[in-house]
Symmetry: C2
Subunit: 233 residues, 2 copies
């Protein structure tokens, strides 16, 4: 069994390798119908640039307000060139969500699979989620703020993503309650509120940055709060 007491953001960064290139290669190989580029070396490199530029501009001024001409300038390509990678502007959110979903799923399951104790599992889940959102902040922000604008299928993809995370916390709390380690609480409610705390980190990032609160500080505080409720009460 793992010892999770010493997990920090620094350790997370050393341990968890999520290369944007790797994920973009997967997307490149999957989306052969929309991506008209053959050479993976070229395609992946540009895909990375497109996603980074789209996230940057969308988070600054909103996806709708971002024009494709701006996106071209930011990612260093032309209108025509861009359209070798997407079929329409609405393709972008799908590509971006694809990328995030793959990483989130991979990292969460990898880090939780061999921790059995509910309290340790809960702490690890909270830390991993916070650390990953710190590392992929633009993606988390985008996924939260822009989802409501998109087509039904992208919206559903995003919602299932959200429920996936929430279910993880529900399950842990439920197990902890059953085994008597946690107090008898409502798992659905509890998971909701834990999630709200985790989201506050990436939605109000500027606030915590201004106050010089590190992600480790925040993680410690959330965990102490959750434990205060689940164990003391």
């Amino acid at each position: 069994m793992h010892s999770v007491g010493s997990m920090t953001y620094e350790a997370f960064n050393r341990q968890v390798m999520v290369s944007l290139e790797d994920i973009c290669l997967e997307i490149f190989n999957d989306d052969t119908s929309t991506i008209k580029i053959k050479n993976p070396k070229i395609g992946v490199k540009k895909l990375v640039k497109i996603i980074e530029a789209a996230l940057k501009l969308s988070n600054e001024k909103g996806f709708h307000a971002m024009s494709l001409r701006e996106l071209c300038q930011e990612s260093g390509m032309s209108m025509g060139g861009l359209y070798a990678y997407i079929e329409s502007k609405d393709d972008l959110p799908r590509i971006i969500h694809d990328q995030g979903r793959r990483i989130l799923g991979k990292v969460m399951s990898e880090n939780l699979e061999d921790i059995r104790d509910p309290a340790q599992r809960l702490e690890m889940a909270i830390r991993i989620h916070l650390y990953l959102s710190e590392r992929m902040l633009p993606w988390f922000y985008f996924a939260y703020m822009e989802t409501r604008f998109f087509s039904t299928d992208v919206k559903q993809m995003s919602m299932s993503n959200e429920l996936y995370t929430e279910k993880i916390f529900e399950k842990i709390v439920e197990d902890g309650c059953k085994s008597g380690i946690f107090a008898q609480v409502e798992p659905v409610f509890t998971a909701s509120i834990i999630k709200a705390m985790l989201q506050d980190w990436y939605l109000k990032h500027w606030k915590y940055k201004n106050r010089k609160v590190s992600v480790d500080d925040y993680a410690d505080f959330v965990i102490s709060w959750v434990n205060g409720f689940l164990i003391a009460s």
Copy 2:
């Protein structure tokens, strides 16, 4: 001193009168330079329709994606008619924020002014904020989701709004710590997290509606969680 134990959403609705007409009359009287309508009876009525329509469409598809032609159709007026009430599309967020800020400030201060006990004061602040956000859900959603897109002055107005609320909670927690009623906690952190919980109510409203969680249920749960942390630990 008030007894706050029995405060419910129903009681809030009976007690707290926030008429959209009244607020729009105030806006109408203040914005004489931008609003070119003379007759208050006509002007206020249309102003209400414009605000309601703008909130509805913005929350559905985003402020940027909402065209003024759609807004005209939804509010039952023509392009020319609309421009008797606004100088530009960017006027709308300012008017909407104006309206919300007035109500929020009024309701919060009115309901908190004569409660001294920190625990009661905290509970009342949580309930009032939740109940008000339930009643003015489109406004709260709009204020949260669209702020980042707007001009500097509207953005600052919105941020000062946010800090105003946060300061209320900070102050209460601080007082409670000093007087020994609450455990020794970090007021800034604690206020942040309480705020995150309150925001979750109006940001994820569909989720709680699906689960048939009423705003009273949610308020009870938040308060029990906060008390669990502030008093038990």
